[in-house]
Subunit: 293 residues, 4 copies
């Protein structure tokens, strides 16, 4: 016979939502009912248009990133992305070119008149990278690296906060709250897919969650369908979905030669696919009155 270990029957209620967990006072939409405009260099997010960030998963060489920047700029992308410090699941995978890669990216971005966003992984690296970047990316694995969030908050450099693949929407907003609490309100949110039981796409893109975040906060919200799905064939459709749904932008991976990429090449668009995506996008964006920024 089972003897209950507790004198009182186990409570049916589950206090999963503590008060602290919903105290995102600075990012809440009530602070700016019209929504905030955030700028990476001179490129705006949240001004009513739709902003495209594009570039390779990893910076591989000066030529590769310069060529990519040219492609991005030529077809209407407005921010260059690329990883120089790569968070890799395995210690034996390519970890990126580091600071040298950031410098290559800076030159490529300047050559083609684009601002750049790149990932920073350690609080100590924030200062040394601050002058080289227009915006910091906080990667999914670091969404709750609170020391990093505080350092970026203190730096005043604009930030793109990716949602952790195992974290809730409310935790994402609270991570943004860490940055704003340090006095830095130049934050955009990027949904990049969450972990679910289905493996047909790499992660499950939570489009409704991105829309929820956009309504719950005053921060611009974009999606990253490249990492979310790992399937280039789905990316144009998902970017069109994002603009029609009213989101503020998208980040896509582009590589001059995807088949030779050193990291995640199988999810990158080639130049022709990117050009086609931007053309389709422009049509939809016009129809919904959200011009490409």
């Amino acid at each position: 016979m089972q003897t209950p270990l507790e004198e009182n029957p186990m409570s049916s209620s589950d206090p999963s939502e503590l008060d602290d967990e919903i105290d995102y006072r600075r990012v809440h939409r009530s602070q700016h009912p019209q929504g905030s405009v955030v700028r990476f260099g001179s490129t705006p997010f949240g001004d009513g248009g739709f902003t495209v960030i594009a570039g390779p998963c990893a910076v591989e060489s000066a030529d590769q990133i310069d060529e990519t920047a040219r492609i991005v700029a030529d077809h209407g992308g407005r921010v260059l992305r690329g990883g120089a410090f790569k968070p890799r699941t395995s210690p034996y995978s390519f970890q990126g070119l580091g600071l040298e890669g950031v410098q290559m990216m800076r030159r490529a971005a300047d050559n083609h008149g684009l601002p750049l966003v790149t990932e920073v992984m350690a609080p100590t690296a924030v200062e040394e990278m601050a002058d080289l970047v227009d915006a910091f990316q906080i990667g999914a694995r670091n969404m709750q690296n609170f020391d990093l969030l505080k350092a970026i908050g203190a730096s005043g450099v604009p930030a793109m906060l990716k949602r952790g693949f195992g974290t809730t929407l409310r935790e994402w907003l609270l991570a943004a709250e860490y940055i704003l609490a340090e006095g830095n309100d130049q934050v955009i949110l990027c949904e990049r897919g969450i972990r679910t039981f289905d493996e047909a796409t790499r992660f499950t893109l939570d489009l409704a969650g991105a829309l929820w975040a956009q309504r719950e906060t005053h921060l611009p919200v974009i999606i990253d369908p490249s990492h979310a799905t790992g399937k280039p064939g789905l990316i144009p459709s998902l970017v069109q979905a994002a603009v029609a749904a009213g989101l503020d932008g998208a980040m896509v991976e582009v590589h001059p030669e995807p088949e030779s990429a050193r990291s995640d090449g199988d999810q990158a668009l080639d130049p022709e696919q990117f050009a086609e995506l931007m053309q389709r996008l422009e049509r939809v964006a016009g129809a919904v009155g959200r011009p490409l920024v």
Copy 2:
């Protein structure tokens, strides 16, 4: 000291994808590379347009369903939905009006020139409902009720197969395969959200998964953002996303007076919200060259 229970070290490979699990030979796109057109009455799905199914969660009375049918038809909905046999988590919840509800719905649909789709829960009910409906809905909880799938397959009545909230995309295609294997190829797929760790929206709408299914099969694919999110405020954006992404339609809940609904009223659109959704939708549909059916 841990003594291994197996003589050979545990294999690193996981045979999660058995051959049987990918044998959806009849639904595979290679069977109909141009895609299939499926008809509920005279309303097509998959002909290049975008088809809207609308109606209440539950049929509550002859007046309620007739009034809803009028609203649906007036604003461009092309199929009436409504539940008469309701799968309810609790035995003590309202279980629907049953066959009488189906008959009310039939009259309402006819009055307003719409075909109807409604859920059937038991194999034995397929025959008695076959003459009253234009299409059967197979609900999420019954997606792997194989006897039901076979009975619907044998009936020849068109079917809308909702994805189970805990089932993979491949299992969904294999469930459709059960229907086609009985000789019935009039099947559309409906993504309605899957279970994940996030509770801000009721389920997580897997838009990328719906697109994946649309490419992998020749069947039309639609979404149900009402059940997926439980948040009327997100529904219009998600339907616009669906048309822009290239899906074949959407099903939304509409109720003349959501606040007085007997089931899931909090997720239904009221008539004014539905009218506004259809207007927005028409604009986007035109822009992407996928007219409302």
Copy 3:
């Protein structure tokens, strides 16, 4: 600029737990604070001991099931399991021997003095199988096949209700409530793993959830580590865990020759492994004062 679609800001609270969802009045432990004893034939569950159900995934032949029944009985298993009606993801997989398989199993069980439990998939089959079985298994895919639950409830035949792999603990209790609401209180619960993002084991065995269910209800609760993990090397450890944790039993797959099984053979124990498991189990069961039934 994002225009909110709702006049009122989206509520932070999520009514995910409706009143109906926690109304499991008949299965709640308060109904029988000491817990219920359920019997399959003369074998008890919930009397303070630990009961082992064993057998093959599928009945394949009269010899195979008879030989398995002998192995089960010889080593202390107290109920024979085996599938004759198999719910299979693919329509092209082996679907079981049907009623003939149940009859083979009946003879094998009788030959070796064991009661039997086997899956029933359709409400219409309940009646024709009722005289042949000691208990019905309700499979994970049918946990919310409400017509089936009602039919088993009305039959009065004892039942083992497996948890759906995508369903919550509360939904599981409410599914049991459907059976009890028809007047049948001979129900045991079987946790068999849920779907999560991790694929190293086939499903994720929710041991804590099984313990939660045992405290929240008066029904006996067992686990099925064979389906949960798909890894024979983990099964003995998990069964020992179950007895030490205070659960009421376990169901394991045993096959005379796993490598030649027609279904899920890779997860079955061979006779020697089963014998060893039962020996280990006896030691732990004695230590915690829960003798093998």
Copy 4:
């Protein structure tokens, strides 16, 4: 008509398991088939016994941690735990006493003859804490904070690596690989529950996953049922399960006065519950031949 975006049909195969993802060459059991023994101070893990770590969620005062250390030592706990640097979802929650808290904890541990383990959150804090601790805890949110893993690897201080709540078993092993790759092989693994769709327990304890990790690697593996479930009533049963299953230890939260705790008090055992747990545990440990360390 849907026009495929790709010339070739979408591949059915998903390369989710890249070669890099299974290259945990240093932690693989083949390196030490008999398993490794890891020591926090003089307390061993993995020597065939079962080791209990206990203490409060957060260090609150010198008295509170000293009193807790006394309770832990008196009843057979062999390592003191407690948080001084607390990773908190909200920036407005209590963040811990910091270095001062570690010093309080050091004195309490010394007073009662226990080694201590405490969380370190930033790479820069590793050096300043190294002399004060017997082992570092790497928290679930930091499991893939690769700079932190490298810093701990380089420090040579033993480490307890908690599994991230959204990370796979293989990612967990690869995170451990980062530490060993820096030359530090004093690592134990701690399973603390993963995120799933069920909310009845706070997380879902993956006991089978912990067993899988124990077989796949040579590292000791323990569980943390306190954080996994948030339900003190389930903790003793789960610890008994762990010892019977053959795991190497458990970490439980104990607080002199749970109801007045500043963090997660609702999941802590009070002194009496802890004493009872240790008594039950001793009985089971003896039965399975795994004495309490």
